[in-house]
Amino acid sequence: MDRIWDFSSVFASRELLLVGLGNTVKLGVTCLVIGLTAGLFVGAARYSRNRLVNWPASAFVEVFRNTPALVQIMWFFFAFPIISPFNIDAFTAAALALSLNATAFCAEIYRGGIQSIERGQWDAAKAIGMSYSQQMRRIILPQAITRMVPAFMNRAVELMKMTSLASVIAFGELMHQGKAIATYNFNPIETFTVVALIFFVLIYPLALGVLRFEARLGRSQ
């Protein structure tokens, strides 16, 4: 092993990596915000007793949970523009695919969290005359969300990693920028090492946060 690691060519391309990091964060945060918001509605729809509401929501969740994210991204980039009147750039396609993917997973987290609240809490809220939405807002969600936070943080970790898949449709996120640098400078070893490190530094605090939060939750119960 007489290889000499030379990071200078990677360092010279730091601007490209910074752009990539920016795009990774932009894609990840967009998808997380959409997933958390839309997931609440899809989750509530799945929880509904009305079949016209819960059936489409369930179908949506199952499709996105049971197909690879890579396939979803490719589909939104190549197939979706053909069957829809929109022209779609790489960011939109990736954001669409990963947001819907995140929505499906978040919907399950919301549903699971809500179902984990004991029947008696609903009973007590109902017995003092609360409407369904009051029961949900005042009693069920505040308790359920505490239990959901670790799962959401895990989702955020997964999502940040999944953004790298958008490199296959040439969206300029970190992985794509890394590929470009490696090809141009013939330094894949150094470049991908740096890319991995940047991802680690970005994601590890989140993972750490999950552990911390779970420990705190464990103590308070």
Binding site: A124, A125, G129, M130, Y132, I139, P142
Partner: protein, 260 residues
């Protein structure tokens, strides 16, 4: 004066399981009515049909002389939004307390008046403290349920129901989940309420309590009212064999010597 609750020919089925098979019951203002019977006899279901936590399969319920639900093509319809005012007038306390764990005792009691009755914050705080004091918990306003004993939690739950200032209170086996030494404090609270003239329907296995507090004791058996009357008539001189068998089963039940 007058009747607070009237139930006529009440039926309730859960799928093929016919739990209530035609219940007729009236509760007068200020009365404490105690429902007794073996588990599975339908006591809790009857209680839950009175505030429409369960929707009756058949029969009618009147509260303060007003029929609940609308008659349509021979069927009674219950709309969720029309049941909300009913529930605000009928308080319910549960076997497992069901306090809101993310709220302090005071917040638990304030929640109904604030969110449902939309009273001002100051009024709600005052009300919460008044009813917590009433159940003997003036020193626990800021305690979370997790830091209260079972008996204290149940008294908070009673205060929470009272804070809605209901016309009728329903107690569903409120001492069954408590350690024996905590039963007394909760029963005393109930007894105080009864002596102040609160109208209440109580499901309980505490026959001693039934004897000393009830104006009327109702014995349920297999979804029907088997026998009802004064505590003396039902608990001391039951006319029905089933009632006698049930009472004999409660070996811990001792009547005061003087009664014999």
């Amino acid at each position: 004066m007058g009747e607070v609750l009237r139930v006529e020919n009440l039926h309730k089925s859960f799928g093929p399981n016919h739990v209530l098979k035609g219940i007729d019951l009236t509760v007068e203002k200020g009365q404490a009515v105690v429902l007794i019977g073996a588990s599975g006899s339908g006591k809790s279901t009857l209680l839950r049909c009175v505030n429409f936590m369960e929707i009756p399969s058949d029969g009618r319920v009147w509260l303060n002389g007003e029929a609940v639900g609308r008659e349509r093509n021979g069927k009674t319809e219950y709309r969720e939004h029309s049941l909300i005012p009913i529930r605000t007038h009928v308080g319910m306390v549960f076997q497992h307390f069901n306090l809101f764990p993310h709220m302090t005792a005071r917040q638990n009691v304030m929640e109904g008046p604030r969110t449902v009755l939309r009273l001002t914050r100051a009024t709600c705080v005052k009300r919460a403290e008044k009813y917590l004091a009433k159940v003997g918990l003036s020193d626990k306003f800021d305690a979370y349920p997790a830091h209260l004993s079972g008996g204290q939690q149940q008294r908070v739950a009673i205060a929470r129901a009272l804070a809605m200032e209901p016309q009728l209170m329903l107690f569903d086996e409120v001492t069954s989940a408590l350690d024996p030494e905590l039963v007394g404090e909760v029963l005393r609270t109930l007894k105080d309420l009864a002596s102040e003239g609160m109208t209440m329907v109580v499901v309980t296995h505490e026959l001693g309590f039934a004897y000393s507090v009830a104006d009327k004791v109702v014995f349920l058996h297999e979804g029907r009212i088997h026998e009802q009357g004064t505590p003396d008539e039902i608990l001391v001189r039951p006319s029905q064999t089933r009632t006698r068998d049930f009472l004999r089963g409660h070996a811990t039940f001792r009547l005061p010597e003087a009664q014999f």
